[in-house]
Structures are given as structure tokens and as C-alpha cells.
Point group: C2
Chain length 475, copies 2
């Protein structure tokens, strides 16, 4: 039987038993050993299934004791982070330590086995077709291909993006969209349109390192809102926090969060958007992994739930088609005019030829069937990486089980330090992203992010090596 199906079988079984009240809140569920024997499947498969149930917030591991049904509440993130709540009341000036900056820079070193960066595996990208389309479209559009594009971007591309927004629950028109040079440009322009130096922003933690750097650059203060690997940002904490502080904007990656891999349930998305709208706080949404959903339907964007034009929806084709083409977009709602002005002052417009090529790919390149293929690949690779983690990492290690994208979040048992693991990995030609680069606090020192877009013997051995090296990483 296929391993994925086995996971699912285990998960379903336990879920049903909890649902029926066979196991109640706080009760112990069967140990891995017992279930493995009874269901005649490997302990690793059970362990992976339990990890997923834990990520879903259904069960929890208790040291030296086993797995228990978890009290059902939104308080997950708060409880877990202990005294975090009080600390969150104070906006913090972002000052990244030199070590942190150095780690951020090192992990993208292209000589290393690239498990530390959030980049798609180039071997999975449709290089030949895109290259052909770049050539044919530049020829076809002649003068237009070497002239400045509209500040807003080439209309044909905007129309395609607008059409696809339907799949994310939106109903954008071409005029609602500005093409940007990648998603990070969309986000940094958005921040510059809604915040000024000294302002405070709220953001789910662990935080994408590029956001931390830019927030530091702008001289903003930050409120890190705890998030869980299953459902993302904790709305109770967020709600409490924005009551206590003047928050100028909120940044959220709802779909396949980087680094957590979390996916916000749709009702939580709606709740998030209306919470911020009630408080008149602009919401900067990073939806760059949305198209890489493993399930049948693409999850909605936060933008789908807005009523007041306060969601600045940012995305790009960098994770799906061509990072180097630098083609992303923003649908900035009521901030359209300001964004247009800011974009024109940044670089007048995004390069024309790559816009033309991607527009053509969306029209005639079979983007959807390509997406189906690549999603299957990433889903399989994530399983493979989790399996190797299950085999070689110490007991108590928990890997998130994202339902899209390719970023895995791994938590070692407390007492291990992933900065040490990062250093050992580095000395052995492997890049991982240690938890320290995702926060200004100390709470992710035992975590790291791993990129599962690559899979090969070398990767398998790399992950095995990491698992075995953990024993030397005690605090």
C-alpha cells in the first residue's frame, strides 16, 4: 500500500476515534509501537501520521509519556509559547544581530546543498518552453518588447492574472493589478505605502527573514504574533495585541506559510480579514505559494474575504515558473494610486520581455497541467524528506506536514540548538535555515526550515547526515 495512503489511514482512524469520543480531550492515544503492530505498518509511518495530527492541533506529545488528545481551543499558540503574551504587548525595534545577518546571507550560497533556501528546484521548472516563449514573444511584439511597459504592467499579463484570481476566490480585474519585479518588491512597496519610520506592524512568527531585514531597514517596530504549523497566525493573540497597540499594518502568509508550511482554514482567513477591517488596519498578504496546493482546490487568498479594499495581495511566479524573470504582482485595493506612484519611482516598470513571456505561458503554455505535475512532485518529496527525518532524527522531533509548497518546519526536542546544527551542516557543504533567523526572540532555537523542492541521493544522505549530527547540538 502506498505510504501516503497509509498516513491518511492512520490519521483518519485517530480523527474518527476522537470525533466519536473514543479518545477524549486529555486522554492518551495508542503508542506508536502498539498502533504499528496492530495496523501492520512501520513505526515511521505511524510517527509521521502522529506528527501530522499534532500539527493539526488534534494531539500533543508529552515527554516520556506518549501522545494525548489535545484540548480544542485557539489557545494553541499562546499556551505553547508560555509567557509570550505579555511580551507581545511591546512593539520591538528590529535590530538583527551580526550572526543572524551572516547566517541569512550564507544559506543562499549556491555551492551548498540547497536545503536552507526557499527556492524552487530549477530542474522542475519549464525552462525550455519559457525560453522559447521569451524568444517568440519578443520577436512578435518588437518595439513593445524593448520599450518601457506601462507602470502598471503589460495588460495581457494582468488580464491573465486577473482571470486566475478566480481560483483564489477573488474577482480581480486587470486594472486592479500592478506587475512588480517579484513578490518581495510587491511587499516592500506595500510596506512603504502603508507605514512610516517608527510605525508598528504585526506579523506571524516565525517570520520570513527578508521581512525582518526590510522592517529593520525601514525603522519599523514589530509585534511577533505566534503561529502554529497547522493553522498559522493565532487570531486571539492578534486581536488582543491590536487592541493594546497602534498597529499600522499586518503581514500574513496564510497559504503554505514560509517557513511553517501552515495553511489557515478558510473560516480563520475570513475572521482575520474582518478583524483587521474592523480596526482599519491594512493587511499585506503574501500568497506566493498559493498555486502549489497539493489538494484538489487551490485555497482562497485572504483577498477573497475583503470588504473594504484593505488587503494588499502580493504574489509572483518565482516559486512556480521562473525566479530569474522577476515577475510578480500586487492587487493593492484602495492603495492603488499610491502603489502606482511608488512603483514608478522604484524602476518605472517591470522588464517587458519577461512579462510578455509569462503572459504567453499563461495563455498557451499549459500552466495548469504543469502545476498539477509539479504539485505531485513536491508532495512526494515532502513525504520522502519527512520519512528520512523520521528514520534518523532523535525521538520527539516533529516535522510539519504542509499541504502545499515545499517548505518544511522541523522542531527538535527542546535542549537542542539548530545554530550548532547549521554550523556543522555548513562545514559539510549543506545549507539549512536555523530557527534564529526567523525571529527577534529566542523561541525557535530548536527549530529549522528545510527546503523539500530538491530530492536526490545527495539530499537523502544530507538529511540523514543532519539527523545523525543532531546529537552534537545539545545546548
Amino acid at each position: 500500500m502506498d505510504k501516503t495512503l497509509l498516513y491518511q489511514a492512520v490519521c483518519k482512524k485517530i480523527q474518527e476515534m476522537i470525533g466519536k469520543g473514543t479518545f477524549r480531550q486529555g486522554e492518551r492515544i495508542p503508542s506508536i509501537r502498539v498502533l504499528s503492530r496492530e495496523m501492520k505498518i512501520s513505526p515511521n509511518t505511524v510517527m509521521a501520521a502522529y506528527a501530522q495530527l499534532e500539527n493539526m492541533g488534534l494531539i500533543e506529545a508529552r515527554p516520556q509519556s506518549g501522545f494525548y488528545v489535545k484540548p480544542q481551543a485557539l489557545s494553541h499558540g499562546i499556551k505553547r509559547s508560555g509567557g509570550l503574551l505579555r511580551e507581545n504587548l511591546k512593539p520591538k525595534q528590529v535590530v538583527l544581530e551580526d550572526t543572524t545577518l551572516q547566517v541569512m546571507n550564507t544559506i543562499s550560497n549556491q555551492m551548498l546543498l540547497p536545503l536552507g533556501i526557499g527556492m524552487p528546484n530549477p530542474d522542475k521548472l519549464p525552462i525550455e518552453k519559457l525560453t522559447r516563449m521569451l524568444a517568440s514573444e519578443s520577436k512578435r511584439f518588437g518595439i513593445q518588447s524593448i520599450s518601457y511597459a506601462d507602470v502598471q504592467g503589460i495588460p495581457r499579463l494582468r488580464t491573465q492574472i486577473a482571470k486566475r484570481s478566480f481560483l483564489a476566490g477573488c474577482s480581480l480585474g486587470a486594472d486592479d493589478i500592478i506587475i512588480t519585479s517579484g513578490c518581495i518588491e510587491a511587499i516592500t512597496l506595500a510596506l512603504q505605502c502603508v507605514c512610516r519610520q517608527g510605525d508598528t506592524i504585526a506579523i506571524g512568527t516565525p517570520v520570513h527573514p527578508a521581512f525582518l531585514k526590510f522592517i529593520q531597514w525601514m525603522g519599523l517596530k514589530i509585534l511577533e504574533i505566534p503561529s502554529c504549523p497547522a493553522e498559522g497566525i493565532n487570531l486571539d493573540v492578534l486581536s488582543y495585541t491590536i487592541k493594546q497597540n497602534h498597529v499600522s499594518a499586518c503581514i500574513v502568509i496564510a497559504n503554505f506559510n514560509n517557513p511553517l508550511g501552515s495553511l489557515m482554514p478558510e473560516e480563520k482567513k475570513q475572521e482575520l480579514v474582518s478583524l483587521l477591517e474592523r480596526n482599519n488596519i491594512p493587511l499585506i498578504e503574501d500568497d506566493i505559494y498559493g498555486d502549489l496546493a497539493f489538494g484538489k482546490a487551490r485555497p482562497n487568498a485572504l483577498k477573497a474575504y475583503e470588504q473594504k479594499g484593505l488587503v494588499l495581495h502580493c504574489s509572483s511566479f518565482s516559486k512556480t515558473l521562473a525566479p530569474g524573470y522577476r515577475v510578480g504582482w500586487i492587487a493593492p485595493g484602495k492603495f492603488m494610486q499610491k502603489l502606482m506612484q511608488r512603483k514608478s519611482l522604484s524602476n518605472i516598470a517591470t522588464a517587458s520581455p519577461t512579462q510578455l513571456a509569462i503572459a504567453e505561458f499563461l495563455v498557451n503554455g499549459g500552466y495548469d497541467s504543469y502545476l498539477r505535475k509539479v504539485r505531485r512532485t513536491y508532495a512526494k518529496q515532502i513525504d520522502s524528506v519527512i520519512e528520512v527525518i523520521g528514520l534518523y532524527f532523535p525521538g520527539g522531533t516533529i516535522a510539519s506536514r504542509p499541504r502545499g509548497g515545499y517548505n518544511l518546519w522541523v522542531e527538535l526536542p527542546e535542549g537542542y540548538d539548530t545554530y550548532k546544527l547549521y554550523e556543522i551542516a555548513l562545514q559539510n557543504g549543506i545549507s539549512i535555515a536555523p530557527g534564529m533567523i526567523f525571529t527577534l526572540k529566542k523561541n525557535f532555537r530548536h527549530c529549522f526550515r528545510i527546503n523539500a523542492s530538491y530530492w536526490s541521493n545527495r539530499v537523502e544522505h544530507g538529511v540523514e547526515f543532519l539527523g545523525k549530527a543532531v546529537k552534537d547540538c545539545k545546548v
Copy 2:
């Protein structure tokens, strides 16, 4: 005899006579009518030559009286602007009026006869060759062409730019350069690296409108330093001003200034750089028109004169090869690390395929012979536009005579308002850039910028129409 030679003959003759003391300071020189008759050349040619002499600061026109030898001093800009000096002591918050912003936006409307924008004529660009190279290089570099480029840019391109820096009197290495998405990105990133909100910058006036907009965006204060159409920014005023104020940076377009068309003499460039270095003020140089010099040698960049790494040299291929490829660069001197960080946060890196295509054009595309051709074209077109101005604009109108680029600066006699001219032009499908968009003050209301990169019957009739419309533009 060729018209250009005739101009030169007139200019040389008058210059010699002033040099020998035949005409002394304050003395009247022969009227246009007299010289035209004596030298057997058309009055228009003499008028154009006198305009050039005036731009060089050698003679001046006095209403209803004729042309006089001008007192020789650097005080040109100061005297001319009347009480400007005292006013310049106060840094000014940039707040652009709605009308000004509206004009800035309207002049790039592509349905208009494009005399108001600083864009190269696409018909003069090497479209076919570039398109071929874009296709072949993307194919040749495969994975590299769709992957993120280094933050700093593709090394092959940087090497070519470094090699060419020799022609501008510099000795850059590939590692001294960061590729940007056009020159405006280079400049705005530079500003963000050397200034903070509330800081004051000094800048030659008339000011490129995009700079004004970005300075307003950043919340900077501005000191407009008078400049003349012959030699550019006035160093006496600049020197005086930086003594009186804390200036955080200075922006200068030394070569073929936009909008003036002025070219700073090399010794003035040296003087400028050492003045700022003595005061430890970063100098942001925009050298985008440098490669379009009509003379035999390309003028030096300001960067050529630096001793302390304080010059942030910005340029791009947008005026020479392909605006829509968005490939520019910055050589930021001692600000390299800061600039790299800021660039990576803007958009990670500039698009790869267009970088590859331009690198190939520089290596194998015959860039220099292409430049020679296009320079000849622009030089000729500038003559043509000036000639039509001479024929149809009211007496006392002065056009600058740039020795590179394609931007002409036209001064109507005082008492005319080019905003009115802009409005009449607009109603008749013509775009011009009225003086008001180049300053926060009132001193260029009788001036406008005209783009001479286009030349056709339509352009000729357009300029003729403008000349005839001036009579309806009295203040």
C-alpha cells in the same frame, strides 16, 4: 557650407573678438542682421550661434537693445535668478502641487506627439539584434537564465560595464558594480542608503521631475542649486549653500543634463567632487546620457575624480539600447555593502534574461559603432529642432545647444507662460514638458524641455505649431 560649421564659425569669431578685447565686457556686439549680412549667412544661423554663446555665458540679450558681452564670472546663475541666493539658504520640504503632478503624469501619454518625455525614439534602437540576442543567450544559459541572478548582477555584464568605465575616466572592476533595474532604481536606492526622512539634499535646478517626486516621497528637504544650460550646476552657490546647511547628499547630472542639456567642463567636475569630498557629502551622479556625446571623446564621469569613494555613479542602457529591458547599474563606492543589502530587499536581483542579452550586445553587438551612428542622428535632429525654433518662435527665444543626448531646454522671453503652452499643445495632441515641473519655485515658468530624439514631418509641424501658439501664452 554645413549649418553646424556655420554656427561654429560664428561662435568662434565672436569668442575670438571677445578674447582679444575687440568687444569688452558690457559692450554691444554686432546685431543679428548685421552679422548675417557681413558673413553671408542666414539670420537664423546667427541667432542660433548667439543663443549658444549666451548659453555659454559669454553674451547676454537685452530687451529691445541687442546682444552684449557679459561680465565674466561664475555668478551667472546667481545674478540671473535675482534674489535666489538668500532663498537657497533654506531647505524646502518638497510638496508638489496637484497641477504639477498631473502635468508630470500627462506628458508620458503615449497617444501624444512625444516631445515632452525623455525617452529615446524606439525606431533608433537596435531592436532586431537585441531580440535575437535575448533569444540566443536565454537558450545558451538555460537554467541560469530563469534562476535568480546574483544580487550584484550577472558577472559577464558587470565585467563589460567595468571595461567601458575606462571611457568615462574611471577604472572600475566588476566587483565595484551592482546591476539595477534601470537608472532610476539606482538613484532611489542610493538616496535610501545615504539619507533619512527629514534630511536635506542639494540638487541642480531645473530638477528631473522623477527626483522631485522621490524626494517628496522620502520626506527629504531640498536645496535647489541654480545651473546654467552651458556648464551645469553653479559651484559658488553650492559651496556657499553647503556651508550654511547640513546637506546629506548632492545629486548631479554632469553630462548632458536632463532637462538643461548642459555639460560640465572637466575642471568644474573635479572641483565639484573635491568640494563635496572636503565636506564629506555623498554625491549621487546620474550619467545616463554620457554615452550619447556628440564629440569625439565621451566626457568623464564625476566618478573619475573621486578620491574617497563618496561618488555613487548611476547609469543605465535605457537611453541607448532598450528602456524596457530595465538594465542599469550603480558603482556606489564605499556604500557597496549597504547598497547590496538594499537592492536585495527591493527585488532580490534584476531580471536575468535581459542582463544576459545586454552583456552579449556589449561583447558582440557592435555597441560602439551603433553609438557612433545614433549620436550622429541625435546631433542632426537637435540642429533641425533648433532651426525650426529659430524660424517660428518669437524673437528672444533661446534654445540650449546640448553636445550630447537629445534633451533641449527652451527659454521663451520673460512674460510667457509655458504651462499655457503645454495646455494648448495637449489640446492639439502634442506633449511638451513645461518648466514648472522642474522646480518648486517659480523661475522656469517661461521655459520648457523638448525631446529631439524624434524627427519627422509631424514633429517639424508640431514644433512650428508650438512656435506660433506662443503668442497666446502671455502671462
